[in-house]
Symmetry: C2
Subunit: 423 residues, 2 copies
C-alpha cells in the first residue's frame, strides 16, 4: 500500500521544514519527498504534515477511572479510590477502556504510546486492533522488602510473551518496574538486566513527589535516581517518568547516561506534585520527552493539550522558554529510547504521520513558519487533524479513530464495571 | 422562534441537575422544563445541556497577532512586537480578526465575551453578525500624568455610541479604562462616574504583574486596587482583570464591594505573571470569573481549556480544590456583574445554552453526575459540542460557527495585514 501526501507544508522536525512539498509512503515507511503515483492520494494544501506525537508515559486503561475520584491528594487518591477499584478490574475492563483511550489518543494525533499497566494480553490485543503503535509494560512491584519477587518476575515474563504473541510489529513490550519505592532492590536489578538481555526499553516512575523522595532517601540512603543508577537501571533506553524532584546531581547523571525523562505536566499539576524544571534539564543536555500519565490523573490523553501545559509550566518561571522545544519533546525526544526510526519525517523512517488542517479559526491567520509552530504548541487542537497515519495506514480521520467502535466499547465497559462492582 | 431540547441531562448549575428532562426556549428566553411543540426540536439523549460559557476578559481582535511573537517577557513583547504592529491596525483588520475570534469562541462553547480593544464600530458589527453576546469596551488610556484626558473621554463616548448604534440587544458597551498605571487619576474617576451614570459595567486591568504593582505603589502610595477603590471604581458591576498580586486587604475589599475578578490563568502562565491564588479569593467570598485574555497571550479563545488550566493552577498548591468551582467561574460568576439573567438555566433567563455530546472517547465512560462534572472540567473539548445557542438561536453546530465565513475572513485579514505592513 502506498500513500502520497501532496502540496503540504512539511514540518520534518521543528527546525527543518519544506514550504510546499510531497511525502511518499510505501510499505509502511517514508520513501522520499517526490511525487509518485499512489494507491491513496491526500491533497494537503493548507495543511501541515508532521511526525505523529509520542506519548512517552501513560496508563491508558485507567480510562475506566476517569473523573470517578477527584480533588484528593495523591496518597489518599491511590489508597481510597484507585487501588480498591483496581483490585476488581479484569481483562475485559482493561480491553475496552484501552480501546477508548486509544481512540482518544489517535483522534488527537498520538501515534505511539508507552504504557504501564496490567493485563498485557488484552492491552496488546486492543493496541493491535486500534492501529496505534504501543510499548506495553507490566507494572511490576513486589514490595520493599520483597514479598513476591518470583511471582513478579514470572508475571513480567508472561506479560512480555503476551505482547510478543500478538505478532504485530507495532506492539512491543517494555520492562516496567513500577518505582524504587514499590519494588525491591532485587526486582530492580532483575529489571535492568532483563532490559539489556532482551534489548527492550525500560520505564520507571522516579521522583514524582517530594515526599516519596524523602521516604526513599531514608530507606536507601540516596536520592532515587542515583539509587537506580547504582542498580544498573539508567541508560539510553531508560524512560524516567515524572522526575519532578531530581537533584542537580541526578540531572547531570541522567544526561550523562543518555536516559530520557517523560515529563507529565498535567498530572503533576493535578496531583499537586510540582512543576519539573525541564528548562534546566534541557539546558543540562537531558533528553526530555512528554507524556499524559494516566487518564485518571489528567483526565485526557491529548498530547496537544500536554504540549501547551508543558510550555505554560516553564514560562511561569522562564518567559522566554522556546515553545518549539515542546514539539521536540512530543516527537523526536520520545522516539529516542524507543525506536530510531520514529519522531522525524525522513526517508527510511516509519510512516507515523499526522496531517493538520490550518483552516480552523483557532489556527487563523496563517502567516509564516515560526507562527505555525507557535500555533501548533499554543493553539492547535486534536480537532484540527484531518489524518493520522500509523505504520503507513490511515487510522484516524477528521477526529475519529477508524478502527475503534467507541459506542460499543463504552457500553461494554460500563456493563463489565457494573458487574464487577467497580462503579 | 421556539426550540425544544429533549431527553437531556440538564446541568442547571454545577450543583443543580435534572437527570433526564426537557428545556423549552421561546422568544430568546428559557421558558420551562416541560415538553412543548416547537419550531426546532433537538434530541439531546446522551448529551449534557448547560449554561453557555462567559469569557469575562479578552481582547478578541488580537487574533491578528496570534503566534506572531513568542517567547519574550511581557515588556519586550509589548514594546517590540505588539505596540508597533497595533499602530498600523485599522478597522478592517479588527473586524476580520474579531470574526475569526468569535468563530473560535462560539465553536468552543463561549456564548458571551467581555472585550477590551479599539475600533468599537467594527467590533460591534462583528459581534452583531457573529451571533455572540458581547460587552465591548474601549481601552482608554491617557498616560500618567494625563496627556490626553479630553481626547480619551471623547473617544470613549464615541465608542459607546458606536456599540449602541448596532441596535442589537446582544451587543453592549462596557466602560474600560486600561489600568491604574496607564490612566490618569482624572480618567479613572471619570470612568467610575460614567459606569454609574450610564449604568454600565466597568472592567480594568489590576495587579497582573508584580513589577506593575511595585511601580504603582511608588507613584500613588497604595496598592492598585485600594487606589482604585478610593477613586470610586470598585463595585458590584466592576470586573478586575487578572488580580494575580492582590494583598489580603485588597482581597477582603474586593469581596466586600461585590466586585468580580476575571482570572486569566493561561495568559498569566504564558507571560510569567504568576498564579493568582483564587482558592483563597473564593474562600474570602470573592466572585471569581474566568477569561482567556487576548489570543496573542494565550493563544486560544477556548473556555474549556481555560477551565482545565484554572483548576490545574490551583491544584498545584491545593490538591483538593473542588473542580466544580471552575464551572461556576465560567458561567454564573461571569454573569453576575453583567446580566442577572445569564449563567444559569432557569425560567426567565436568556437562552444562552450549550449542548455537549457525551459519546466522544474523551468523555467515556459516562458513569454519574459528579463524574460528568469532573469530565467537563478536565476532559471536555469544544469538539464535544453539538449545539451552541445564544439568545435563543443556534449559532454554532458541530464545531462550526454558522454565521461566520472563516475562510473569507482569514483571507481578507491577511490581505489587509499585508497592505498595512503588519505582517
Amino acid at each position: 500500500m502506498s500513500i502520497l501526501i501532496k502540496n503540504a507544508k512539511l514540518l520534518l522536525t521543528p527546525t527543518k521544514t519544506i514550504e510546499k512539498g510531497n511525502l511518499y509512503i510505501e510499505d509502511k515507511k517514508i520513501v522520499d519527498f517526490k511525487k509518485h503515483s499512489a494507491d491513496t492520494v491526500i491533497d494537503a494544501s493548507d495543511h501541515v504534515v508532521m511526525p505523529g506525537l509520542i506519548n512517552a508515559h501513560t496508563h491508558i486503561p485507567m480510562v475506566f477511572l476517569r473523573g470517578l475520584a477527584e480533588d484528593l491528594p495523591l496518597k489518599q487518591w491511590l489508597e481510597k479510590e484507585v487501588w480498591p477499584r483496581e483490585k476488581k478490574v479484569n481483562g475485559k475492563i482493561v480491553y475496552h477502556a484501552a480501546l477508548l483511550g486509544m481512540a482518544e489518543a489517535l483522534a488527537s494525533g498520538t501515534t505511539s504510546i508507552v504504557d504501564m499497566y496490567f493485563f498485557q494480553k488484552e492491552l496488546a490485543t486492543a493496541a493491535k486492533e486500534s492501529g496505534i503503535r504501543a510499548w506495553l509494560g507490566y507494572g511490576s512491584m513486589d514490595g520493599v522488602p520483597s514479598s513476591e519477587l518470583d511471582t513478579e518476575i514470572k508475571n513480567e515474563r508472561a506479560a512480555i510473551r503476551a505482547v510478543m504473541d500478538t505478532g504485530s510489529e507495532r506492539v512491543m513490550p517494555i520492562i516496567s518496574p513500577h518505582s524504587p519505592y514499590t519494588c525491591s532492590k532485587e526486582l530492580l536489578i532483575h529489571s535492568g538486566e532483563a532490559s539489556k538481555e532482551l534489548n527492550l526499553p525500560l520505564q520507571i516512575h522516579v521522583s514524582e513527589t517530594k515526599d516519596e523522595v524523602k521516604q526513599l532517601r531514608k530507606v536507601v540512603g540516596k536520592p532515587p535516581l542515583k539509587y537506580l543508577d547504582t542498580l544498573g537501571l539508567i541508560g539510553p533506553r531508560t524512560i524516567i517518568a515524572h522526575g519532578v524532584w531530581l537533584t542537580p546531581g541526578e540531572v547531570m547523571l541522567t544526561s550523562k547516561r543518555g536516559a530520557t525523562l517523560a515529563h507529565c505536566p498535567v498530572s503533576n499539576f493535578k496531583l499537586g506534585s510540582g512543576i519539573a524544571p525541564i528548562h534546566k534539564y534541557i539546558e543540562k543536555g537531558m533528553n526530555v520527552a512528554l507524556g499524559t500519565d494516566g487518564p485518571a490523573s489528567n483526565n485526557s490523553l491529548n498530547m496537544f493539550e500536554e504540549m501547551k501545559v508543558a510550555a505554560l509550566g516553564q514560562k511561569l518561571s522562564v518567559p522566554d522558554f522556546a515553545s518549539r522545544k515542546v514539539i521536540d519533546m512530543a516527537t523526536v525526544n520520545g522516539a529516542r529510547p524507543l525506536d530510531g526510526q520514529l519522531g522525524e519525517l525522513k526517508p527510511g523512517n516509519k510512516a507515523d504521520i499526522i496531517i493538520m488542517n490550518l483552516n480552523g479559526p483557532n489556527m487563523a491567520p496563517v502567516v509564516n513558519k515560526t507562527q505555525i509552530i507557535n500555533n501548533l504548541v499554543y493553539g492547535a487542537r486534536g480537532s484540527n487533524l484531518s489524518h493520522v497515519i500509523v505504520n503507513g495506514e490511515v487510522v484516524a480521520k477528521d477526529g475519529r479513530a477508524l478502527r475503534i467502535d467507541v459506542e460499543k466499547s463504552s457500553r461494554l465497559l460500563l456493563k463489565e464495571m457494573d458487574k464487577r462492582g467497580v462503579l
